[in-house]
């Protein structure tokens, strides 16, 4: 019985390891999604659609909270932090809206 349990645990850990390996790229990118999404869509909400800051904060809200979301109104740029990563988006020019910065 004990041996059987050990075998199952080993299988589980091994399976998890394989999955992590196969999804390593996606897992590496994952923490960037929240701040990148928030920075980009908040930037467009504010500076393309022209909505107010309070509305746009609610508009980009996800289940996971951000550590910070700040806009530089004069420069029309936005910085979002969450899941340990930071992303920025900014207006590019008339008719071109916002873009995530590299």
């Amino acid at each position: 019985m004990k041996r059987w349990l050990r075998f199952a645990a080993l299988l589980l850990v091994g399976g998890a390891g394989l999955w992590v390996w196969s999804a390593r790229q996606a897992l590496h990118d994952f923490p960037d999604i929240l701040p990148a999404y928030s920075a980009k869509e908040y930037c467009s909400c504010r500076f393309v659609m022209g909505f107010d800051a309070a509305y746009c904060r609610r508009y980009v809200e996800q289940y996971l909270p951000l550590a910070s979301l700040e806009e530089d109104t004069a420069r029309q740029s936005v910085s979002a932090q969450g899941l340990g990563r930071r992303q920025q988006a900014a207006v590019q020019g008339a008719g071109e809206g916002c873009r995530l910065l590299p």
Binding site: A23, Q25, A26, L27, D29, F30, D32, I33, A36, Y37, K40, S44, V48, M49, G50, F51, D52, Y55, Y59, Q62, Q92, G95, E96, G97, C98, R99, L100, P102
Partner: protein
């Protein structure tokens, strides 16, 4: 005296011709009507809890018949002048822009996309028509917030692909032969945007959408965001006021003609509206069928129409969170609906049914 009567007759004739066809030039006109829109109001603009995001959350609703506004309503902060995010409605507008390029004989549908976008060298058999049918055959996972880890579209828009969205898509492996399988893919749309860019001289590519499509239609509100490589995010990031999106609808409704200018060649709109057979074969019940980068109210074999209360000739441009442009040629009808739907409450058929019921009442 006889000449005077001839002159009057001519003037009347001109007036009649003008009355037959109304254009939003310079701006949309309103129709005189005392129709009862209560059922539509109740459906599209229900009283919502101040907090929370449940239910049908319309931002804009615009109903146009015979080129005149019958109904128009906005929910703050969206207004008539707001360039609202259209999400995947962008794809169908991109197809319309490609229609203008097609009329300028810049490409043929059967051309390999590689000819205009060399980064597709690993996929030389993908044709422009395959991309327009969302049938590149490339491996793709189109899912937004529910499966972000493996979502190709999230990676393309926000992480790995954002510097060059077409490049990211072109690097995906092939899953099946091009043209054989419908798989809805924002990547295919961005490959089209890159191919269009490749058809144009460098100095023309930047404002082609404005010059070729938006200016002739009198569209002033458009903002079309780009990726890091400077290519239009054809899949997702076009912003238009509801009234301006309706101009695209009117162009389609009138078979590619804007006043006396044939902007889209005859046959282009028919291509948009022709079901892609593998999409029709594979459609889930209630899902519209893909045509040439537009969505059709066509039934899969042996099934009911996806929107049973709307005529079979209804077609649409559809986007995330409830964005929609519906065209109903048999009713000479356009509907623009913008939303911020964060659940699945909103139903295309329910909205179409309520609009059509009002028009049926009017006809009685």
């Amino acid at each position: 005296m006889r000449r005077l009567w001839q002159g009057v007759g001519l003037m009347l004739l001109c007036a009649c011709a003008a009355a037959q066809e109304v254009w939003p030039v310079p701006d949309w006109q309103r129709a005189d009507n005392a129709l009862n829109w209560q059922a539509l109001d109740d459906y599209a603009f229900p009283t919502l809890a101040a907090s929370g995001r449940a239910g049908v959350r319309s931002d804009a609703l615009l109903v146009i018949r015979d080129g005149r506004i019958l109904y128009e309503r906005y929910r703050a902060p969206t207004r008539a002048t707001t360039p609202h995010l259209t999400w995947s409605v962008s794809k169908s507008v991109l197809a319309t822009l490609l229609g203008v390029a097609y009329g300028q004989q810049r490409f043929q549908l059967a051309d390999p996309a590689l000819r205009y976008y060399p980064a597709l060298h690993q996929h030389p058999d993908v044709r422009l028509i395959d991309l327009l049918h969302w049938a590149s055959g490339l491996d793709w996972q189109e899912d937004y917030e529910y499966a972000p880890l493996n979502s190709s579209v999230v990676a393309m828009l926000y992480t790995r692909g954002r510097q060059d969205m077409a490049g990211y898509t072109a690097a995906r492996p092939a899953a099946v032969a091009p043209g054989t399988r419908f798989l809805y893919s924002s990547g295919d749309s961005n490959l089209l945007a890159a191919a269009l860019r490749g058809m144009l001289a460098d100095q023309d590519a930047g404002d082609y959408a404005r010059r070729a499509l938006f200016d002739p239609l009198g569209i002033r509100s458009a903002v079309w965001e780009r990726d890091g490589a400077g290519t239009l995010v054809g899949s997702s990031y076009l912003y238009l006021s509801a009234r301006d999106l309706a101009r695209i609808g009117l162009l389609l409704l009138r078979d590619g003609r804007w006043q006396d200018q044939q902007l889209l060649p005859k046959g282009w709109v028919s291509f948009n509206r022709t079901p892609f057979a593998p999409a029709q074969a594979a459609a889930a019940p209630g899902e519209p069928i893909a045509g040439g980068h537009w969505w059709l109210n066509q039934p899969a074999a042996g099934r009911a129409r996806p929107w049973p209360d709307a005529p079979a000739d209804t077609y649409a441009a559809l986007g995330h969170w409830g964005q929609a442009l519906y065209v109903v040629p048999s009713e000479r009808l356009l509907i623009v609906r913008y939303g911020d739907d964060r659940d699945t409450s909103y139903s295309h058929n329910a909205l179409l049914a309520r609009v059509l019921a009002v028009l049926a009442e009017e006809a009685r």
